[in-house]
Amino acid sequence: MIFNRSIAFALSVGLVALFVQVSLAYAQDGSALRVRLSSDIRSTDPGTNRDDNTDAVVLHMVEGLVALREDTSVGPMLASKIVASSDGLRYTFTLRDGVKFHNGAPLTAADVVWSWKRYLDPATGWRCLPEFDGRGMTKVLAVEATNPKTVVFKLERPTSLFLTTMARTDCGGAGILHSSSLDSDGRWKQPVGTGPYKFGQWKKGQYIDLVRFENYASLNGPRDGYTGGKKAEVEKVHFMVIPDEIAGKTALYAGAIDVFPEVRSADIAEIQKKPQVKIEVAPAMDMYAFLIQTRDPVLKDVRIRRALALSLDLPAITEAVTEGVCQPNSSAIPSSSMYYSTVQRLGYRRDIAQAKRLLADAGYNGEPIKMITNKRHSESFDSAVLAQAMAAEAGIRIDLEVLDWATQLDRYTKGKYQTMAFIYSARLDPSLSYEMISGPKSTQPRKVWDDSLVQEKLAESTRSSDRAKRQVLFDELHRKMLEDVPFIVLFNSVDAVGLRANVVGYKSWAPAKPRLWNVHL
């Protein structure tokens, strides 16, 4: 009123002028796809300093000798032919013709050898090194280029998982890099790979830009997972770091982004109702489960564990927390796996009376059981809340403890919990799925299922490549698991991706990684 009317006036004029400019600032010409990232990537170096988002971005730029197909089986990528020796100790890869790196250099066997030497060097810090240096799965004794188009891998012991592990997304798909990815001091610069997009710009904490690689040589054939039929249709992919779910959702509605991966299942219904957006859903392989510490004084009694399982209405939980998008699955094997058969469909059926009987037998007297959960994964959190209410009906008292993800991981790694709502990341092979849960607790406290018989069967399944034989083993394991109740599997996640209505060609898939080739506006 008495304070500088003129300043107020100037301010309001300025604001109006700004609003007018908005529309200009927003002009979207269709040459770039804007994609939400829930957190910034950690590096551009495949399989080293990484997390899920890092893998997703990096796998647009680099490709390995083999890669995942749409059905999560493994197929050749940069290799045109793969021959394994009968003893399983020698793999010969023939490279595809005409493949070029982002810098124009042709792909040769020497590049493969160079890349693998680098991965096998502990200084690189490759996340999957333990699988290849003898500590884990096997040991790569040598990687040799027998001619410019042929590379031979020699292994110490045979394994059915060699190619599968190579194709793992968290290993960066063992992407083949050109040596110019490093600077003259051998430090990481940026990925010079063979993927359909090349590195553009990384504004830390804000966005990563990938640019179309004009000389990309796609593996012929139809679109198939990470392997064939890849075509970069937009000039630019603009990954925007938007950690807050709701902000991301609003951005999608407002048209500030085109692709919103990792839609929480609870939001799927809401998104479907909006005319300007649509949603793509495919079953995925992450596994939601309640882990139970079998060494806990209360929970070491299998009757109590069983009672807990019987007290839960697992289909209802799945229905509620995923808005009916996911199917319940009580098996460690993802429902999208080819090993998922009738036996794997067996699960627990809610039976409060039986649960109460078991509890009474075990002498359970309402001792509180702590269940750890976290707010990072809302499905997991919601399941815990529901489980708490359902278990209460059977007289089991669950106290929830909400931790941040890092703290929960610490508890998980140390086995320091009674129960926890947990998410296992995707395992591409049933053997890997069982490996992830079973093992000796004394040396690997994170393992939930400590049983020597299980270990044996598991080892057997790893050695064998015979599908029928393996299926028998997995069926046995599943039956045993339902009996022992070391953990309760809820469901496998879905890959739900929100899209602006004008986005064409996007497909969600089991590994739940966004793929922005063959997509246009």
């Binding site: 008495i2 950690r42 830390k204 709701i246 991301g248 040396t443």
Partner: protein, 313 residues
Amino acid sequence: MLSYIARRVALTVPTLLLVMVAVFALIHLIPGDPAQLMLGDAADDATLSQLRQHLGLDRPLTVQFARWLLNVVHGDFGHSITNGLPVLPLLLERIQVSGTIILAAVTLATLIAVPAGLIAAWKQNQTVDVAIVAGATLLLSIPSFWLGLLLMLQFGLKLGWLPVVGYVPLSENFSEGLLYLLLPIATLVMIESGILTRMSRASAIDVLRLEYVTHARAKGVSESQVLRRHVFPNAFGPTLTMIGVILGNLLGGIAVLETVFTLPGIGRLLVDAIYARDYPVVQGVMLLTALTYVFINLIIDLCYPIFDPRVTT
């Protein structure tokens, strides 16, 4: 004056040192570590210890702290564990974002709140006053993230006037950059002007009771002059203190808004770093915020004599 500043700065050294010890202790007391986070559900012992060694987390804590401190003295804040970036440039970049928002919002809030408070005090217990006080109280009663989201839905989504996510530095493109900042600034202005209005009203009421105001009126000075010249300078002291408190609180509190509006600011950096157990970043941010806090207080103290000549430095 200069020696006063020098003395004040010297006085802050023990505080800062204590802050750093406390931060270091606190962050390492929190369970979990970056190696586990990186490896997730498949963290076997061998890989874990290899990674810890790689990150230098296997050394005793005292050694880690001493090394860090020594490096900081030499201007090296270390590298982020999360993305390997040098911490210092990261901090400087991030604090610009938060700094812009905080300073703009607090300045605007002051420009709105102080006159509003004066007018309310002047019209004490009349309709205008009741309206201003009710409005101010309501504003400061709303959780910032809620208000931010409401504004975002209204102006970003419904009306489509303003962008809902993203950030462009003002130095790159001023008008576009401003668009991204308008909503967060508006949210902050609304909330902080609530607090400041009440503050400025309360101190203006105190000043209005004093004799020199009556004296000025007895000289025939008009009411607006009385408010501007005699009430405002004397009522601004407590408001200035409050501004200092707000600025200090916002260094951390801005994290909430930065999350809502997806801004790469220092608050979000800190929250993310805490969740990611990115020790060098947490320590860096805390050192920077503590320094800023000390600096703000120094500035406020140096500003005091302008409004109250009785205070000497």
